[in-house]
């Protein structure tokens, strides 16, 4: 027994692909078994998977652009933020008035998708396209700059104070799933919407010509172009999808929080970025796995840590992140590309 303990080397397990998959499955199964025996734990399971889904979506929006363009887009959080502000009347008044946010739910979703996709595509054509042939560091700094511009624009138009924006309020009500298990409807919808979006994205990337071109370009952009794949088109498509995902991230977040601030994108981008890094930059499966790890561990730790240190649960999340990166600097599911673009 002592031998086993002595020989237990977490780095070794994490660096072996098969061991890692088995570890992931074992953790999931243990999690589910532990959860189904107790209503409170089951609630935690649902909440944590929902949080994981949220970060998986956010991380995908970043991972996709990195995969195709080598762009680490820190303005992503500000797209999410602006999509939230789009719901209310543009004014610096203290109280906020829902405009788009008061429409029919289907209309709200469609308009916000359109708005965010447009914002994303405009960001591409005005900021990122002219910088495409510089290097990734410069593009990343440009994304910071764009983020600040968007934040300050928001302050100019809407004022710097937090504003309320209650949409889909019926979703924050709880539903009883079973005896003693009641969770907010929003959690379940978050999981469901993420699942649907993941399936759609997978089908798109594997079954459509554009999707296959995007995967090819993500692996080897120059080769793809030499086969006639249009660079501008593929990159624009990546921005469309990234903006599309950002709109859902925003709608979920605003429904949950009900308050808009010009800084609300920052925590989202920080966690989503960390998720893409531990998942493996540019790997889409990695983004989802990373988002799940970050979301689930954050919720679980908030619930199981003793009260005195519960407030520091994020520190433990980052501890896990560091442990993963020490063992697998390339991320949990590394991407197969990393060839330089010309």
């Amino acid at each position: 027994m002592q031998d086993i303990v002595k020989n237990f080397n977490y780095k070794k397990i994490l660096s072996d692909k098969r061991a890692l998959v088995i570890l992931g499955i074992v953790i999931s199964i243990i999690g589910i078994i532990v959860a189904v025996t107790d209503p409170v734990r089951f609630q935690i399971l649902i909440t944590s998977v929902s949080e994981g889904s949220f970060y998986a979506l956010a991380a995908l929006g970043i991972g996709l652009l990195f995969g195709v363009l080598r762009l680490i887009n820190f303005a992503y959080g500000d797209w999410v933020m602006l999509a939230g502000y789009a719901l209310i009347l543009p004014s610096t008044a203290v109280t906020s008035t829902l405009i788009i946010g008061s429409f029919h739910p289907v209309l709200i979703v469609l308009i916000i998708i359109g708005f965010t996709v447009l914002l994303s595509v405009l960001s591409e054509s005005t900021v990122f396209r002219p910088m495409r042939n510089t290097n990734p560091a410069i593009m990343m700094i440009a994304s910071f700059a764009l983020g600040y511009v968007l934040q300050n624009l928001t302050i100019m138009i809407y004022g710097g104070r937090p504003k309320s924006a209650g949409i889909f309020e019926e979703l924050t009500q709880t539903v009883d799933l079973a005896e003693g298990v009641s969770v907010p409807l929003l959690k379940i919808i978050t999981i469901g919407v993420t699942a649907v979006l993941l399936i759609l994205l997978t089908l798109f990337l594997h079954r459509t010509r554009i999707g296959i071109q995007m995967r090819a370009a993500a692996e080897d952009f120059r080769m793809a172009r030499m086969l006639g794949v249009r660079a501008n088109f593929v990159i624009a498509m990546a921005f469309v999808i990234s903006g599309f995902l950002a709109s859902f991230v925003s709608l979920m977040y605003v429904t949950q929080i009900g308050i808009l601030t010009f800084r609300m994108g920052t925590p989202i981008i920080v966690f989503a970025f960390i998720a893409t890094v531990i998942g493996g930059m540019g790997s889409l499966v990695g983004s989802v796995v990373g988002g799940m790890v970050v979301g689930v561990s954050s919720v679980v730790l908030k619930n199981i840590l003793p009260g005195s240190i519960r407030g520091f649960s994020d520190a433990f999340v980052f501890g896990i992140v560091i442990a993963i990166l020490l063992a697998r600097p390339q991320g949990l599911v590394p991407a197969k590309s990393a060839r330089e673009r010309v």
Partner: protein, 251 residues
């Protein structure tokens, strides 16, 4: 009179301030196999990448089917009918074998023809049919070389440029690759511009040959006229200068 398909007219290509290729001219006629041989670092890949629009010559012109194409983006050059099989093969390892082939065909509109052409490529290289669902990264080096040739063919090019097809392959596989390339010319009239480090195999396959060294074309000629090999060796290694200096010194 031979019809000129591709004419590289005195191009100079810079990486930063370094001129990797200086005043290089190459002519490829329709239906010809032209080989460019030269040592590592001579500027062969630079020349092919310029033809494909990946690099932009600082002077000189590239004329394809009578149209100037330098300065045009790589995806447009591909659509005009120049398909490159680059050095190091560059299969898309995360895509399946068949997806790799279909990427090649995506610039075409003739759907029925595409399906036929995919079948033909799979007949030419049966392994690509057998393994079509596998990820292309799992293929061996030789199989990957077949895949990228097949993929380039599916763009329906007027000319294929091939950068060191024998790189890293066993001799019997190299034979097979060259067999396929010469078949392509014989059966489909494909025009080929092949770049190699060693002149041996290139001489056998080529109609005409260029030797490039230090970014400059040293000699060119019909393969039949360069068979003795001494001229090529001189151009390749640059013994010429040495001989001259020796001769001068002794006189």
């Amino acid at each position: 009179m031979d019809k000129v398909l591709l004419h590289v007219e005195g191009i100079t290509v810079h990486y930063g301030r370094l001129a990797a290729v200086r005043d290089v001219s190459i002519t490829v006629n329709e239906g010809e196999i032209v080989c460019v041989v030269g040592p590592n670092g001579a500027g062969k890949s630079t020349t092919l990448l310029s033809i494909s629009g990946v690099l932009n010559p600082s002077s000189g012109n590239i004329v394809f089917s009578g149209e100037k194409i330098n300065g045009i983006r790589p995806e447009i050059v591909a659509r005009k009918g120049i398909s490159q099989v680059p050095e190091g093969r560059h299969v898309f390892t995360t895509l399946s074998v068949e997806e790799n082939l279909r990427i090649g065909a995506q610039i075409r509109k003739d759907r029925a023809e595409i399906e036929k052409d995919i079948k033909r490529v799979q007949e030419l290289f049966p392994i690509l049919g057998e393994r079509r669902r596998q990820s292309a990264g799992k293929l061996s080096g030789g199989e990957q070389q077949m895949l990228v040739i097949g993929r380039a063919l599916l763009t329906k090019p007027k000319i294929m440029t091939i950068d060191e097809p024998s790189l890293g392959l066993a001799p019997n596989i190299v034979d097979r690759v060259y067999e396929v390339l010469t078949t392509l010319r014989e059966e489909r009239g494909m025009t080929l511009l092949i770049v190699e480090q060693s002149s041996e195999r290139a001489l056998k396959a080529a109609d005409r040959l260029y030797v490039i060294r230090n970014g400059e074309i040293q000699i060119e000629g019909k393969a039949s006229e360069l068979q003795d090999g001494e001229k090529i060796r001189q151009a390749y290694f640059g013994f010429n200068d040495e001989k001259n200096t020796v001769a001068e010194a002794s006189s």
